[in-house]
Chain length 262, copies 2
């Protein structure tokens, strides 16, 4: 949750029909080296999609000031929101807050509101120099509460800065979600084809051409018995268009299955 004093963004009304976009910037050498397998991209993607925010791009960059600042400025300019994960802990390799301050051209310092939040969890003797680094906020930032461990993330402009540890990131996203502006939800329906992708490609192309107002995706998978199969996923913001396309997919599959040798 944002501080009540927040003036950073409109409250979370459903602006029907409007498309709200976001990017995610994952910051961390450990992801690019393969040492840590990212678990945040999938969670952020699923959460934003479910809320009515289109995740439009993800980038992963090193713990490198120039790269982070460049990506922050490119992505915050291109999308309605930019979420970042990683690099806001208590150690010297946590440079995200400083990079955000640099990207916005504002100073950064220990924020008494953040210290107050952290006092809920830490004893006075635990609030050492390292932990107080986590209370440093770019000027103008609003705090993002997290129920998991009380150390706040922050929000400045259209950029929401979250931790890299999945449980903490999830608590921060949950904290900030009610404050986000959302658009009309992208609806989706998945139809299991029980046919191979290569056997339905031409017919599916024709169908997609006849339904230009929906997006039709085709995703191969192996079923429980390791037989190749396909999920056809239809996506649209319009319930009616979605249902019409799903019906067309089912009719197409019915025709094709009937035409197959038994």
């Amino acid at each position: 949750m944002l501080d009540e004093a927040s003036g950073g963004a409109a409250s979370g009304a459903d602006m029907s029909g409007e498309v709200v976009t976001a990017a995610l910037l994952v910051i961390g050498d450990e992801i690019l080296s393969g040492r840590t397998k990212d678990k945040n991209i999938g969670h952020v993607a699923e959460t934003l999609t479910g809320m009515g925010i289109d995740l439009s791009e993800v980038r992963v960059v090193h713990d490198d000031e120039a790269r982070i600042v460049e990506a922050v400025n490119a992505l915050r300019g291109a999308y309605d929101y930019l979420f970042t994960t990683g690099g806001i802990g208590p150690t010297h390799d946590d440079i995200t807050a400083d990079c955000i301050a640099k990207a916005f051209g504002v100073p950064i310092d220990v924020d008494p509101r953040a210290v107050a939040m952290m006092r809920e969890r830490f004893k006075p003797e635990e609030l050492n120099e390292a932990r107080l680094r986590m209370a440093r906020m770019p000027q103008g930032a609003e705090l993002v509460h997290n129920s998991f461990n009380k150390v706040p993330g922050f929000w400045i402009g259209n950029v929401i800065v979250m931790a890299g540890v999945p449980a903490i990131m999830q608590a921060m996203l949950e904290g900030v979600a009610p404050q986000l502006r959302v658009g009309r939800k992208m609806l989706s329906r998945s139809v299991r084809a029980d046919m191979k992708e290569g056997d339905i490609g031409s017919e599916l192309r024709a169908l997609a051409g006849e339904h230009p107002d929906v997006s039709v995706g085709s995703y191969p998978f192996w079923d429980e018995t390791r037989i190749p199969n396909t999920n056809i996923v239809v996506r649209s913001r319009e319930e009616g268009a979605l249902e019409a396309a799903v019906a067309a997919v089912e009719a197409m599959l019915g025709r094709m299955r009937a035409g197959r040798p038994a």
Copy 2:
């Protein structure tokens, strides 16, 4: 494996001391919607790091021609290699090969070498219009074999185009790996601190400052009994510098543990 006729890249010699960089472009609406959780970034990161190629950036974009072409041209210009995953299947939403052709400004057509490879797996009647789309290659591309299902990926300039299905992507990466130019490997050692990250932050910062030739990362985790702990990861291409920094980390931890109340 590349075709023997390949003239695209130097063979895989260890150019000691040299740094070879790569980017990964993940293409697919299903990743950005959260429907599919990416499993390729971690595998590519780990494989390239192990070979001596630094994965320096990852981007995830939609199945959208303009976005793909823009990302391909930005990333292939910025790094030694660009790997892509996704969008080379038999259906209308598989547009990666066309986008790569467009990014390079070359025509694209069915490649008889690819058709020959696919004949190893598919019966003549299975090589329909949809499956033959998977044999379309930008002019000048070399084929990347895959042992998993015989449908090739391809390599053009410094761009290596792979499937999105993890098992197929892994086979393609394995196929192309021996042909890649590699640099001196980044070595890493992980030391379990048995202390909280916030308790070692100041000392670790000083240590990192005294070892500017290595990178020192700090990664919090919860141990088997859910107690907060920290892995300190030291990385360097120089074995001697790495060992010196690891010894310094262990000495630091020893001093700090001795100073703690029992």
